[in-house]
Amino acid sequence: MKKIRAWQLAILLAPALIIYALFSALPLADTLRLGFYTANDAGVRSFVGLDNYRTILFDPDWSAAFWNAMWNNVKFFCIHMALQNPIGLLLATLFSLKGLRGARTYRTLIFLPTLLSVVIIGFIWQLILSPLWGVGEKLMGLVGLADWFGPWLGQESTALLTLSLISVWQYVGIPMMLIYAALLAVPEEVLEAAHAEGASAMRIFWQIKLPLIYPTLGLVTILTFVANFNAFDLIYSVKGALAGPNYASDLLGTYFYRTFFGYQAQIGSPTMGAAVATLMFLVILGGVGAYFVLVQRRLTRYAL
């Protein structure tokens, strides 16, 4: 019955494939190609092999900034893994408990920040943490910690950590929702049976619920990885393209932007930008590849 002519298939597939290829796949491939070129002042491009990569990775004028952004990005990711995902897991576990009143309200309220633009969230926290306004200091005073308050966004030692925490605060809703959906799929009978055998809520969590949602935790990890190594908006709106102070909050995204468009004395270069984008692509591809080879293949999927 399922007979379809080639031209009919072509009509169904063409619009999606053309837009996707033209504005996503081909630009990505073209960017990978451009990374091997350089342009002279007249804009004429010539092939230079791996020169751009040698410059970014080893030339002292460039490599320090690149490795700084890379290292900051690793820290940014680690903070998300250490805080965002465990908090998301805790919240999802709590409001998926059977018979909890107001669970839907909590879910709706806690998800709200995730919905707003990073730009808006960045500015909101910038105001709250501003020593000029003093709201942050006053709030810490309520719990007796007023002396600990500092201009965290402005200090080299704390800027990246503060921005990471803002990002964690905003995006905790994503792991929370994904884990919540996975917990909903855990069959009631299994939990009831465990309980009938005398298992405590804690034991049920650690030995039944958690193993059943491992695939989702793996998915959350890789989504966090891709989002973090692609982050730009928060840093740009709070600290600008220079990701100050003294590049302390520079991530690969802001480094890519500066390399591509230029800043202050340095002139932007599309080909160098393409090389940076290629390196980011390799990092993300490496992460995604490692996830599929190492994690997903080993995870047992329970048929629920």
């Binding site: 379809i4 999606a16 996707y20 909890l100 709706t108 633009s117 730009v119």
Partner: protein, 293 residues
């Protein structure tokens, strides 16, 4: 869902109560309440202070506006100093435009890929799946060249096309999954009546997709609405600015004018807040049903 049914049976204590006693739920509520406050307080603080005079903002930031401290001057400045409504309209055109293209083209492709066997099916599936994991931003250098070459720079069309390309891969996956669940009898009945394959898609399948559209909308509209990167690079012009970019630029210029900054932030938040209040149930259902897969 049987959640509500068990919740109302008073005889059976819940798992938590059985393990931690009656106080168990109190602890759970305490933790969730505390986190809800942490999540909402910063936003509430901005909304409250946007309605107050400059002095009141600094003297009593936690206080609600009173008759003496209430002012709308910040909002007036934002409305007169920017084309906020225009930005808002731009965001709406871009996100809705992208959603329409994603749903229509995504459903057509998902139908072809999930219903028919043909050479190259798996290859196309793989080609599309790459776009789910690899961020479209990495191709920005070439996208900018392309948009310049097509003379689409500073147009909303450029943003619509880019967000469509960004959203299509996930939409194709979600819609394919959904279409596999449509009973075969529906399609076969139409086929027995001699209806063509393309007509079946538009007359039978497309109208059935409504529940899945919520899921697709959540995953495509929110990132597009909130994006700063592509508006900044492809459409920074005054006429085509989206809300996110407009607010970012406005605050950059008026950084020291607290009334205006707070009002601009509130005006960016309030429409989203209203939409969320109206559609949060559908949104969360869309999010969780898409996520189970």
């Amino acid at each position: 869902m049987t959640v509500s049914a068990t919740a109302r049976a008073p005889a059976a204590p819940t798992l938590v109560q059985r393990s931690f006693g009656q106080a168990g739920h109190l602890w759970v509520h305490a933790v969730l309440c505390l986190y809800a406050v942490i999540a909402l307080f910063p936003i509430a603080l901005i909304l409250i202070n946007s309605l107050k005079t400059r002095n009141a903002i600094f003297e009593g930031p936690m206080a609600l506006p009173t008759a003496e401290t209430l002012t709308f001057s910040g909002f007036q400045k934002v409305l007169s100093g920017t084309h906020f409504l225009l930005y808002f309209g731009n965001s709406l055109v871009v996100t809705v435009g992208a959603l329409v293209l994603i749903v229509l083209f995504g459903a057509m492709a998902a139908w072809a890929l999930s219903e028919y066997r043909f050479p190259g099916n798996r290859l196309i599936n793989f080609f599309v799946a790459i776009g789910i994991m690899i961020p479209i931003r990495l191709g920005t250098v070439s996208i900018l060249q392309l948009v310049v070459a097509l003379d689409l720079i500073n147009t909303r069309t450029a943003l619509i096309l880019v967000y469509t390309a960004q959203g299509l891969p996930l939409a194709v996956m979600i819609l394919s999954e959904f279409m596999r669940q449509i009973p075969g009898e529906l399609k076969d009945a139409a086929r027995c009546d001699g209806v063509g394959e393309i007509t079946i898609f538009f007359r039978v399948i497309l109208p059935l997709l409504r529940p899945a559209i919520a899921t697709v909308a959540v995953f495509t509209m929110i990132p597009a609405w909130n994006d700063l990167w592509f508006p900044l690079i492809l459409a920074p012009g005054e006429d085509t600015r989206t809300v996110t970019l407009g607010v970012q630029q406005f605050i950059g210029q008026y950084a020291t004018d607290w009334n205006s900054v707070l009002a601009a932030l509130s005006m960016a938040v309030i429409p989203v807040l209203l939409l969320y209040m109206a559609f949060s149930r559908q949104l969360i259902r869309g999010l969780t049903s898409g996520a189970v897969k």
